[in-house]
């Protein structure tokens, strides 16, 4: 017994080191799985609050680009408005296909990273505003990411510039779909894999979100084809997609509440149980 105490006393430093290292390695390994630890995320009140303060100052630096983006969106919406001939028959749909306006939560990016392999954004709206994990986040130009964690007033988003993110996407003109991933290299480009060889694709074609995803509605812009690779082993195309969005400069974003999502998920669960 005496020896055990002696041993612990002598090696207290090393044991403390091993304990702390163990905790940190556990946290880092856990963070590599899709559903992450809820404790260490910038959605908590401390880091969220600090980021909101910092953002209050730094948003003045890119007011001009944000204004431009909003003005462009305004112009687009206005042109849509003028195209409607019979004003009494305005369909109660937003420009995003199939969604009612109350399905959208306007939010602001208060922190944005794009220099690591696993990038996250922090938004200034959380569960009190109705944000839940696995909702889609878009802005006027295209998709941004998927909600990961939420606290009362803040939420974190898995950016599309994250090697863990995987989003169903398709060609706008032909409905051939694939999955959208990021290889961790350039912030302007993502990769669309598993597009079948039958698809006729050309440089410059538009890529939009696919209908298989329960997170995003169909036909939200992602980007245009920049380069096409053909993989000999798998006979699928690998496409480099140039994003419409500048992921390094994000201001206001929209969080999409998909009404059908829970229904679809419940249905699929039921199916699995039946088997």
């Amino acid at each position: 017994m005496q020896q055990i105490f002696n041993f612990i006393y002598k090696n207290s430093n090393r044991l403390l080191f091993l304990l702390l290292l163990g905790i940190s390695l556990f946290l880092s390994i856990q963070s590599h799985s899709y559903h992450r630890s809820k404790i260490i995320s910038s959605a908590n009140f401390l880091s969220g609050g600090v980021y909101e303060r910092i953002n209050n100052v730094s948003e003045y630096f890119n007011l001009r680009t944000q204004n431009d983006a909003l003005a462009q969106e305004n112009a687009k919406l206005r042109s849509l408005l003028f195209k409607v001939k019979d004003t009494t028959a305005i369909p109660k749909l937003d420009s995003i296909k199939g969604l009612h306006p109350d399905d959208i939560i306007v939010s602001k990016v208060i922190h944005n990273t794009f220099n690591t392999h696993e990038n996250y954004l922090t938004l200034n709206s959380g569960s009190l505003q109705g944000v839940k994990p696995d909702m889609g986040v878009i802005n006027s130009l295209g998709i941004v990411g998927i909600i990961d964690n939420t606290s009362d007033n803040y939420s974190t988003v898995i950016s599309i510039l994250n090697i863990k993110s995987q989003i169903n996407a398709k060609l706008k003109k032909s409905n051939h779909f694939g999955s959208l991933t990021w290889d961790g290299k350039s912030t302007g480009f993502v990769q669309l894999t598993d597009v079948p060889r039958l698809a006729s694709i050309r440089k410059g074609d538009t890529i939009v979100t696919g209908g298989q995803s329960v997170i995003f509605p169909e036909n939200i812009n992602i980007g245009t084809i920049n380069r096409i690779y053909f993989e000999n082993e798998t006979h699928y195309y690998k496409i480099e997609v140039k994003l419409f969005n500048d992921m390094t400069n994000l201001g206001h974003v929209y969080v999409i509440k998909s009404k059908n999502r829970e229904e679809i998920i419940n249905l699929e669960k039921k199916e699995e149980k039946d088997e």
Partner: protein, 168 residues
């Protein structure tokens, strides 16, 4: 003793704040950012409490991780650096470092520089290995470690010169 404690707590908070507000937003060439917050571990008193340093660097890393959504990679890197710091001292300043009065925040001599270089290198290497966690990113890890190390060292040395206590 009390003033050392106070200086260290002050350094802890100040370095974290500067790191989060300024250096985390610095993205040189798109992906290189400096991490001068580890100056806290480097400048910790040589004969200070080792367990205290371990615990302090654990929380230093934990707060960094919280702010950068990175799980526990900063924590692990900081704890490893804090634990191996005495060995680095031995390597850079010779065996009898504990009996000399090693003062780090002073003019940069070769010994001090080698100590800072090794510390930053170890920290960044652990950091980027844990961040990628894949062998396929090997060259990426290596390049980012080296470039970020250079960047961090430059900023660390600038900070050391800036906060150097005035003589007389």
């Amino acid at each position: 003793m009390n003033s050392t404690l106070f200086v260290n707590i002050f350094r802890f908070i100040l370095l974290l704040a500067v790191q989060i507000v300024i250096f985390n937003n610095m993205n040189f060439l798109g992906y290189i950012s400096p991490y001068p917050y580890i100056l806290f571990i480097i400048l910790y008193p040589v004969n200070g409490n080792k367990s205290g340093l371990l615990v302090a660097s654990f929380f230093l890393g934990l707060i960094m991780d919280m702010f950068s959504n990175s799980g526990g990679i900063h924590t692990a890197a900081c704890v490893i650096l804090a634990y191996y710091r005495p060995y680095l001292f031995k390597f850079s300043f010779g065996l009898s470092y504990e009996y000399q009065t090693v003062k780090l925040n002073d003019v940069v001599t070769p010994e001090r520089f080698s100590f800072i270089l090794l510390s930053v290198l170890i920290h960044h290497f652990v950091l980027f290995v844990l961040e990628a966690f894949k062998i396929s990113f090997f060259w990426d890890i290596l390049i980012r470690t080296i470039l970020s190390t250079v960047f961090t060292i430059i900023i660390c040395i600038i900070i050391i010169y800036l906060i150097k206590p005035n003589k007389r």
